[in-house]
Symmetry: C2
Subunit: 141 residues, 2 copies
């Protein structure tokens, strides 16, 4: 089976609030939106914001909870870009979970939760190549 | 800010159990592994399985819970590939949350939870192009 993920879907309580967070915080533009879902074209896959009730219905599973045992990482291209982006995300409705500091493997990273408590790691990791399309290749630091 | 995610990290209770699930269920091979984390090179980003306790320490946040309000989708290339993959995932230690059926937008999809209750949508969606590198482009069905 191909090592492939097509969509990362986040359940959100308020689609407008989330759309604003991703626009004002990250500066991202949807490729599609309706009253239940917003899609963003990412680097090789699609990010979806889906009303949690609709995600629960689609999944056939109620009572989805948070904070959850997962994180998404967004990498920036310079060490000095980490803190300003984290500030921008906090101003846009996010909450800083961990201020930026150096992880054991090097670089710099912090964590911000989006309005639904989904954790975003904002990282500068000079060891991992990112090409002009935003595609990331694993490399040992 | 680039519309970019570098890493999708899943917190897992037992790294060996998860590694077996992703190997025997999806047939995936790690690009890196140690006692705390396993990385898979995906289509333009990296999937990480991280011991939940280590993820909590990294995130500076305790009590991560499940089932969580998010899902990852793996798309297959033919309608008839959905059910066999779901069976294989269930045999490898996953749990079927929703048997495959047709969503309102067409195609076919079902949901399987991994051993840590992370939800995977297994989908056939003929509307979304997937190139030879596994990179997915959003398209309206």
């Amino acid at each position: 089976m191909r090592q492939q993920i097509s969509v990362v879907t986040l359940g959100v309580a308020d689609l407008d609030r989330s759309r604003r967070f991703y626009r004002d915080g990250f500066g991202w533009s949807p490729v599609f939106e309706n009253e239940e879902i917003v899609f963003y074209q990412m680097n090789g896959f699609v990010l979806g914001l889906f009303r949690t009730a609709a995600l629960e219905a689609d999944m056939n599973r109620a009572g989805l909870s948070h904070p959850a045992a997962f994180a998404l990482a967004h990498n920036v291209s310079a060490r000095d870009d980490v803190a300003p982006l984290m500030e921008r995300l906090a101003k846009a409705g996010g909450s800083v979970i961990r201020a930026a500091d150096e992880p054991p493997h090097g670089g710099l990273r912090g964590y911000v939760a989006d309005p639904d408590d989904h954790a975003w790691e904002i990282a500068w990791n000079p060891a991992w190549p990112i090409d002009e399309h935003g595609h990331v290749t694993f490399a040992v630091s």
